[in-house]
């Protein structure tokens, strides 16, 4: 069962990644070019998922959407990890008031959903892919900090760290040689789960019009456009949502599968 989870997750994630990479070089049709007389075609050939209100191939737009989602995911998770992990490690290793301060600040940011942050940024700079990435990245920092901190605390209590400290290894050395390698798998799991959250967040933001602007396709704004044709071409609303669900499911399953794989003693539910 657990193996099935991990494998399904891997397959789904691979599908998304491959689609995104392919889309950088090639899509079956131009995802932005309006085509006369081809509006709202039902799925068939050569438009396997049909066309939208401008005659543009939906499959090609979905592929470009995968590109955007991957970019947003990588950058926001990257930012969150690069900032959150060192902070969490610092809190776990130093303890005391440093720990308190980091955790309190982290809690404040945690209470801030990415959406509200994104709205604030959009109100000042206008919604774009960049504001979405920054908002999601910043909002994801606390999760990474917490995981890193919890992992650091565990490692700090272990025998060989105590030995290393008594033999005079610097805090930085301990961090590099003992903490980091041991919490890396946990960070990996968090990255996968965080990626799933980033995808959902980006989709919601672009649905609301706060991320990548039209006419560039994202799965979220494709759903917004599809809503206009709900009575006339309902299938259009199916594909982008399905893509989001499958991508998120993939990253979630991958994360859960990795977690179970790394430590079967860990319970499924906290």
């Amino acid at each position: 069962m657990k193996r099935a989870q991990l494998i399904t997750g891997l397959v789904l994630v691979a599908a998304v990644v491959v689609t995104a990479v392919v889309a950088v070089f090639w899509t079956p049709f131009d995802p932005l070019r309006v085509v006369a007389g081809q509006r709202l075609l039902a799925p068939g050939w050569p438009h396997v998922l049909g066309t939208d209100g401008f005659g543009i191939d939906i499959a090609s737009r979905l592929m470009v959407g995968a590109r955007t989602i991957l970019l947003v995911g990588i950058i926001s998770v990257g930012v969150a990890a690069v900032v959150g992990v060192p902070l969490g490690m610092l809190a776990g290793q130093a303890g005391g008031w440093v720990d308190e301060v980091v955790m309190r600040v982290s809690d404040v940011v945690y209470a801030f959903p990415a959406l509200l942050l994104a709205m604030l940024l959009a109100a000042i700079y206008g919604g774009s892919t960049v504001t979405a990435m920054v908002a999601i990245g910043v909002a994801s920092i606390p999760a990474f900090a917490r995981v890193a901190r919890a992992g650091a605390l565990q490692v700090m209590a272990s025998d060989f760290v105590l030995a290393a400290k008594s033999s005079g290894t610097s805090r930085w050395g301990v961090a590099r040689r003992h903490v980091l390698p041991n919490i890396a798998p946990l960070i990996g799991v968090q990255a996968s789960v965080g990626f799933a959250m980033a995808i959902l967040a980006e989709a919601a933001l672009s649905y609301l019009g706060l991320a990548t602007p039209r006419p560039n396709p994202t799965w979220g704004n494709m759903l917004r456009d599809a809503q206009n044709f709900l009575f006339v071409a309902p299938l259009q609303a199916l594909w982008p949502g399905l893509a989001i669900a499958l991508a998120v499911l993939g990253f979630n399953l991958l994360g859960d599968g990795l977690r179970d794989y790394l430590d079967p003693r860990l319970r499924e539910v906290p």
Binding site: L32, R33, V34, A36, G37, R39, G53, F54, G55, G209, P213, R214, P215, Q227, N228, F229, L230, F231, V232
Partner: protein, 515 residues
């Protein structure tokens, strides 16, 4: 284990009940707070009409705000004019029963209807009309459009209790039509309140409430001097997103959709027992405006190239479900001087590319910002136009702006290269004669043509000269006219009297009845 479990069981039993109790309390509190006291039932049912429209008026003051959504609600319904344009496009009496024009056509004498009075009870007499004209002449803050239209008026004087004489600086064929619109709205001179929120007109309705972002409610003017209003209350409900409007109409929440912004949804109103669909014309030209301050757009070849790059017939089919009319200049088929100029600078992408190159713009060297308001025809057309221009090697960045921001940044401050908006005023090609208007189009030859047409000694001559002026605009590609906006009115089958063609800015309530 059991003992601990038993004791924890006791303490664990509280959460559920506490939760239920809290939820119940919260529910009651909310209900109490949010349910206003029930209104006393009246013995006679209120006759109401709910109209769905698109752009919400920011204020109820049409003299200091330029948006067409304001006269849509107020013209003829709340504020009346000396003369009115009816559904056939002809000028008819309203506050003025009759009028004469002097032989040199610079003096107009209006005979006001002695019965006409404001909602306050004060008579609409010559003094009131003169006061209005003076008010506009001395107000430095009126809109640019009104200022330009008023420029031809030298002065007004009361030559009797109900007789007004208005002198023009020169003959103007357009002036009387302008007076049938926003320019001619007569405000009660005794009004001292805030024009943005309250009204003081002579029409069958008065402004009751304006809920920002949602609706405007008009209430019956019980002291109206003419045919009594047919409704006690009329609500205009606004939504830039056509889908909720369609849904509300289908579910019966709306009585009328003033102009359907989602022509794809027409088929959903096919049931004749429930809905009546009226298809007609408006005065609205959907104009892809070009900012003539932009270096590239100042060049004729560039403008011609852009016009030739867009397949406007297909744009109508793609964007507006084929419901618009192809036009080639700033005139619609109902204008007396209309001729079909849609063949000027016809669709020819190859020629467009060549023209661009001649103008000095190699492929992908020209970048333009297309900033549009978030209204359906503009957003969709923008996507279409961007794609077509990309095909001839012009990079277009599309930006969608909230209408308030559009008014501020594009219309007032001119911060744009291209934009798309529908100009719904009748006979409005004079806007191209005003260099201060947001296109910044400054062509003395056109201004000359237009003035000559306006000053013409007869309607026939005037129409002929207007034709020439219109053609000149088309040849100059002063803007790109995407299509003429159709009038797609959806009503419940019990509603009658909605005009087929929207000949004025007003959504005229005076002719609408409900069975």
């Amino acid at each position: 284990m059991t003992y601990a479990a038993a004791s924890s069981r006791r303490s664990r039993s509280i959460p559920t009940k506490a939760l239920a109790a809290t939820v119940g309390l919260v529910l009651t509190l909310i209900l109490a707070a949010c349910t206003p006291a029930a209104a006393p039932t009246t013995s006679v049912a209120k006759r109401t009409l709910t109209v769905g429209a698109t752009l919400e008026p920011a204020s109820m003051d049409p003299w200091h705000n330029t948006a067409a959504s304001i006269p849509q609600v107020l013209l003829y319904n709340v504020y009346e004019t000396l003369v009115k344009v009816d559904s056939t496009g002809g000028i008819k009496p309203l506050l003025a029963q009759a009028w004469e024009v002097s032989p040199d056509r610079t003096t107009y004498t209006f005979h006001l209807n002695p019965a006409a009075k404001f909602a306050s009870g004060a008579p609409v007499d010559a003094a009131a009309v003169v006061a209005n004209i003076n008010r506009l002449k001395t107000d430095a803050k009126i809109t640019e459009t009104l200022r330009a239209q008023l420029a031809v008026v030298a002065g007004a004087e009361a030559t009797g209790t109900d007789q007004v004489q208005i002198n023009l600086t020169r003959p103007s064929l357009m002036w009387l039509y302008d007076m049938s619109s926003t320019l001619g709205m007569i405000l009660d001179p005794a009004f001292t309140g805030d024009l943005a929120t309250a009204s003081a007109g002579s029409g069958p309705y008065a402004v009751k409430t304006h809920t920002q972002g949602e609706s405007v409610v008009l209430t019956n003017n019980t002291k109206y001097w003419g045919n009594p209003a047919r409704f006690d209350e009329v609500t205009f409900r606004y939504s830039t997103d056509p889908n909720p409007q369609v849904a509300s109409m289908l579910s019966g929440d709306l009585d009328v959709i003033s102009n359907l912004q989602s022509p794809d949804a027409l088929s959903q109103f096919a049931d004749a027992s429930q809905f009546t669909t009226t298809t007609g014309t408006t005065n609205g030209e959907v104009v892809l405006g070009l900012n003539h301050d932009n270096k590239a757009l100042a060049k004729l070849e560039v403008r011609q190239a852009l016009t030739m790059a867009i397949n406007r017939r297909d744009l109508i089919d793609t964007v507006w479900n084929g419901q618009g009319t192809l036009i080639g200049s700033m005139a619609v088929p109902t204008d007396p001087w209309y001729e079909d100029l849609s063949g000027t600078n016809p669709y020819d992408p190859a020629k467009a590319k060549a023209l661009l190159k001649d103008a000095g713009y190699a492929p992908n060297t020209l970048s333009l910002r297309l900033r549009v308001p978030v209204v359906p025809y503009a957003v969709k057309s923008a996507q279409y136009v961007a794609s077509q221009l990309r095909d001839i090697g012009v990079k277009v960045t599309v930006e969608e702006l909230d209408f308030t921001r559009w008014l501020d940044e594009v219309f007032t401050k001119g911060d744009y290269d291209m934009t798309i908006v529908a100009h719904v005023e009748a006979r409005d090609l004079g806007k191209f004669a005003n260099p201060k208007y947001y296109w910044h189009y400054n062509d003395p030859k056109f201004a000359q043509l237009y003035t000559a047409a306006d000053e013409a000694t007869s309607e026939e001559q005037g129409d002929e000269l207007m034709k020439q002026a219109t053609k000149y605009l088309a040849d100059q590609a002063a803007a790109i006219w995407l299509f003429a906006l159709p009038n797609l009115v959806i009503t419940k089958s019990t509603i009658t009297g909605v005009a087929q063609n929207a000949t004025t800015l007003s959504f005229d309530l005076t002719t609408i009845t409900s069975r």
